[in-house]
């Protein structure tokens, strides 16, 4: 192999990469916070909510979990305008990630809720709390704690999956790599560099999630 590696372009193009990282980070933050919130709401609805909500949320979860993120993104960005819902690239990407993580985290959190000992619900009830108050103040935090590692992994998966938003011209890290390779014709190097950045981001994000868990859940999980 006589290929000469060349990373000199980094000097000129690092601002693009930095911007890409920032946008990937922004997408992950918004998708993570809003997506997990949606997941909590859906998990409540599916595990403890009123009967009519369960099949609705169930259909949403199954639909999202059984179709590719890319198609969800295209449907939102290209398809929804036919219904009069016109979204910018970034909004469409944000929305797609929220909906995607919402469905996956719903199932993860639901498992946490269902592992709650029955006595916790009964103790809440015996103290005159409504079922929802019991969920909110008694069940939710230990449930999240139980499944925090799985939820952290899922957030990392969604961050990595966000690479495809470059396909609707969101200027994320992958977009930067595409841009650089089209200018420098150093495709392999551009992708290696961005791949390594993604790897670093994944490791960082995972550590951040675990640290956040340690902050929010100071006690070890019950049973």
């Amino acid at each position: 192999m006589s290929y000469q590696f060349d990373f000199l372009w980094l000097g000129e193009y690092w601002p693009q990469i930095a911007k890409g990282i920032a946008i990937t980070g922004q997408l992950t933050l918004v998708g993570g916070v809003v997506g997990v919130s949606l997941g909590i709401a859906c998990a409540w609805a599916r595990a403890l909510g009123p009967g009519f909500l369960k099949p609705v949320v169930g259909a949403y979860v199954e639909l999202i979990r059984n179709t590719p993120f890319l198609i969800q993104l295209f449907f939102i960005f290209f398809g929804l305008p036919s219904l009069g819902v016109q979204l910018g690239e970034l909004s469409a990407a944000n929305l797609a990630m929220i909906i995607n993580l919402g469905a996956y985290s719903c199932e993860i959190i639901r498992a946490g809720i269902q592992a709650t000992p029955r006595g916790q619900f009964e103790a809440g009830a015996s103290l005159a709390m409504t079922p929802f108050e019991t969920f909110r103040h008694v069940v939710l935090v230990p449930s999240l704690q139980r499944i925090w590692p799985a939820l952290s992994s899922q957030v990392v998966i969604v961050m990595l999956g966000s690479a495809v938003v470059s396909q609707i011209a969101v200027e994320d890290l992958t977009f930067a790599a595409n841009f650089i390779q089209s200018r420098t014709f150093r495709a392999f190097e551009a992708y290696i560099v961005s791949t390594l950045i993604y790897l670093a981001l994944a490791i960082l994000l995972r550590q951040a999630m675990l640290a956040l868990g340690g902050l929010v859940f100071p006690r070890r999980a019950a049973r």
Binding site: P68, F69, A163, Y198, A202
Partner: protein, 219 residues
């Protein structure tokens, strides 16, 4: 301009679905073979091999599949091969699936009690024999539900190969959209076809897992 009926659209999409299926199948089978080798390294008694396999798995699980596809597409080109999209897609998906399958299976093998290794060793079995006759038959049973579940990820993963130009279901969706200007219908149908492929697998994975849990509880 020609008018496209919904049936025209659907027919074109279904024709492209064959490639999604074929690529999924190749990736899953190839990924299983490579994944099995990886598993062998991952649970090897030699620390260096374990670390090697662990690094591989973390690399492939910690980076976007899309990047892996790009690198396969452009990287193979460095060897002077003119890489067709299907080859890059196949290679990347096989390597990617292997990482995930190896990790899933490692969990299953580790779920087998240590006593089983010790008992089979005490009977004078070699490591290959222990695996073949004692560990794998037990691990296989608990490995089936998550493995079937992962096949859904493989099918969904093939959608990304459209980005490097492999014409499968997602790419066909884009092509048909550009011809018909009906993105809502086309991507809606594309989603439904994926759903029709994936949902039965997801469901059977869930059912298998429930059965397994019930069986375990009755022990």
């Amino acid at each position: 301009m020609t008018e496209f009926t919904t049936w025209d659209i659907l027919r074109n999409l279904l024709l492209a679905t064959r490639w999604t299926l074929l690529l999924s199948l190749v990736s899953f089978i190839g990924g299983s073979v490579v994944g099995l080798c990886l598993l062998w390294l991952r649970i090897s008694p030699r620390a260096a091999l374990r670390r090697l396999a662990k690094g591989y798995i973390e690399l492939f699980q910690g980076t976007p599949l899309l990047m892996q596809l790009f690198i396969a597409f452009f990287g193979l080109g460095l060897f002077g091969i003119d890489v067709p999209a299907w080859l890059a897609a196949g290679v990347a998906l096989v390597l990617w699936s292997a990482a995930f399958l190896a990790e899933i299976w490692r969990g299953c093998v580790e779920a087998i009690a240590k006593g089983q290794w010790e008992a089979s060793a005490s009977l004078g079995m070699g490591r290959l024999q222990q695996m073949r006759y004692v560990i794998l038959p037990q691990a296989l049973k608990i490995a089936i539900p998550p493995t079937v579940g992962f096949s859904v990820q493989v099918i969904k993963g093939t959608a990304l190969t459209s980005i490097i130009g492999f014409v499968e279901l997602s790419k066909a969706g884009t092509i048909v959209t550009n011809a018909t200007f009906q993105p809502f219908t086309v991507y809606g149908l594309v989603a439904l076809i994926y759903f029709a492929l994936c949902w039965p697998l997801s469901k059977s994975s869930q059912i298998l897992e429930r059965k397994l849990n019930v069986a375990h509880r009755n022990h």
